[in-house]
Symmetry: C2
Subunit: 360 residues, 2 copies
């Protein structure tokens, strides 16, 4: 257990940006909201998964909607708390802790904001160990936690509980359509779990990993270290490629940012090329036409100078980048997980190719 400090939030925001593998939305506004709450005297404890009582009541909370709208229309910071509260009223019980849905991007911070308001701890873990674009892709649901009941709230005080239903895919559709009506952004509380459920299904220690990662990047600037090597080392990843962005095919459609980015090699990769397909998050990386990394492994595009993440919405010609491959959590590599988050789930008819295979 530790008490979150305002400075921790700066590190988490950087780390979560990197772990977001291009997606997950911008953690900047969430960071500002959380920092203000801490400065106002709110106290947020981060507890380890193993510290949870088996019968603790835990739920995931986050923002749903287009990241661009999250930036343009500042939310009240209360939607996520409202989503938690409407679930509590429905269940007739209070939650003991909140846990992030994903450690990538803005939703790594949102539970901290809600937890500060609700005066309960945040769990050091999440349901992806990275970012993914859809609710059914949470490890909680992959491993059998029900997605009902689910709470939804917007900044105008509209609140709803989805009490029962056919499956997480359909819940996703209902929530997306409601969020469009709600102006593009809403708070969602979903995956009502016991502490035992969390221990069985969560990717552990990812909030502290994001904090350590961001702290290392910040320290590298001060110490004039190579930030790419620092990130690679902290994440125990592989440097897949170094180069210059030469082309971006990007399409915003049905709420997704999809496309293909082409990178021409520099330095050690001079004369080679890399292509990366993305849909919100980076999905597949080809080097000279050969697949070198596949979702759910993490494909992180970083600014070569600063080590800062280059998210899919800001990809543009001329960026000098490093591409890191990072092995995902073993929880995402089982057959049942790959059916939901593997390449085929994103429409690519290729097998999942664990990064380690390249190390032969």
């Amino acid at each position: 257990m530790w008490i979150l400090q305002p400075d921790d939030l700066d590190s988490i925001a950087i780390g979560a940006g990197i772990l977001g593998t291009g997606g997950g939305g911008n953690p900047y506004l969430g960071k500002l909201k959380a920092r203000r709450l801490l400065r106002e005297g709110h106290r947020v404890e981060v507890v380890g998964v193993e510290e949870l009582a088996d019968d603790a009541l835990v739920v995931t909370v986050g923002g749903v909607g287009a990241p661009t709208i999250g930036i343009e229309r500042i939310d009240s910071g209360r939607e996520t708390l409202d989503a938690v509260r409407v679930l509590e009223e429905h269940l007739g019980k209070r939650f003991d802790a909140l846990i992030p849905a994903e450690i990538g991007g803005g939703n790594s911070i949102e539970p901290i904001v809600a937890a500060a308001h609700a005066r309960i701890p945040v769990v050091d873990g999440d349901g992806m160990g990275r970012a993914f674009p859809e609710i059914p892709m949470l490890t909680y649901f992959i491993y059998g936690v029900s997605c009902y009941p689910c709470g939804l709230a917007d900044l105008r005080g509209n609140r709803a509980v989805f009490t029962d239903g056919s499956d997480p895919d359909f819940l996703e559709r209902l929530i997306r359509s409601a969020v469009v009506q709600m102006g593009g952004h809403a708070g969602v509380a979903v995956a009502v779990m016991s502490g035992a459920d969390v221990k069985r299904t969560a990717v552990r220690d990812t909030l502290s990993l994001a904090m350590r990662l961001g702290g290392d990047v910040r320290a590298a600037r001060t110490l004039k270290q190579d930030p790419i090597e620092v990130v690679r080392s902290t994440l125990q990843g592989r440097l897949l490629f170094t180069g210059k962005l030469v082309d971006v095919d990007r399409e915003t459609k049905d709420g997704w940012v999809s496309g293909l980015v082409r990178i021409a090699g520099l330095d050690r990769d001079s004369g080679r090329s890399m292509e990366i397909a993305f849909r919100n998050e980076n999905l597949i990386a080809w080097q000279d036409g050969e697949i070198v990394a596949t979702v759910p492994d993490l494909i992180c595009i970083l600014d070569l100078e600063s080590g800062e993440p280059v998210t899919t919405e800001i990809l543009r010609y001329g960026y000098r980048v490093a591409v890191l491959g990072v092995g995902c959590s073993p929880l995402l590599r089982t057959p049942e997980a790959l059916a939901v988050v593997g390449p085929k789930a994103f429409g690519y008819d290729v097998p999942f190719r664990p990064l380690e295979q390249d190390l032969e």
Copy 2:
């Protein structure tokens, strides 16, 4: 109080079709579902508004969605009951009675189906005294009943409760978008009321009116009476026009069927013409360019021979019709009601013109 008989349903279906003023959807399938339930031994009591205890718990229930889909995709007959049940679970209480949202079209029958399943009575009244296309147009909401909580259910077992929110217009939008995801049809339970609320806000005795009206039309066939005169007399309405449909401009857009129908006069109206604007329901009638009837008064287009209602979706060239004007409930004629259901609410910049004004 009376016990509904299978034969009553045939009369209610005809009467509700006429009171639907062109909209409200087809009551035929609802009638079949209700009749089967009655034949299987279910017993449905109809109780008068005045018979309700002041502290009785009452709710409106009906189908929401495009009427055409309701015909093409037969519903399970359980969505409306499921919508009631999800609200009961949320409230932790059982309802004592159900009341129709509207007496026009299919939603006059749906509460009977749900009441048969739930083994509770149906109230002889509704929230419109006719049909209207939107949830905020219910007298219950016009006179201050909250539209929260609202239960929603589809045939695949998806269920939700909208617990709080800004206003009925926004609830309408949320429900419409959810219903689109649900395949175009769902059951909704809304307007949780006490018996005292019902006494204050409901249009009374409309289920029995629909039954009497339909019974009179059926009797007229047997007795070779003029069905138009029978309907006019039962509803104490005015025969506005008799003629032949010569043109229909109709557009299906955003879930509405909107347009204008032109009728060339026959017999006593020979040489004259009538135009009627509609959006699901008939809204404004002009005779030779002069407004003779306006929403919320009822403008009913009836087949000249049979007295059967001609709904907006089946309007076509050649129909010989009578147009009846019927004064609406006084509950729809107050300033607060006209703000929601008057001509301006439908985009026509004309004042409401009570039918009686023509009688000078």
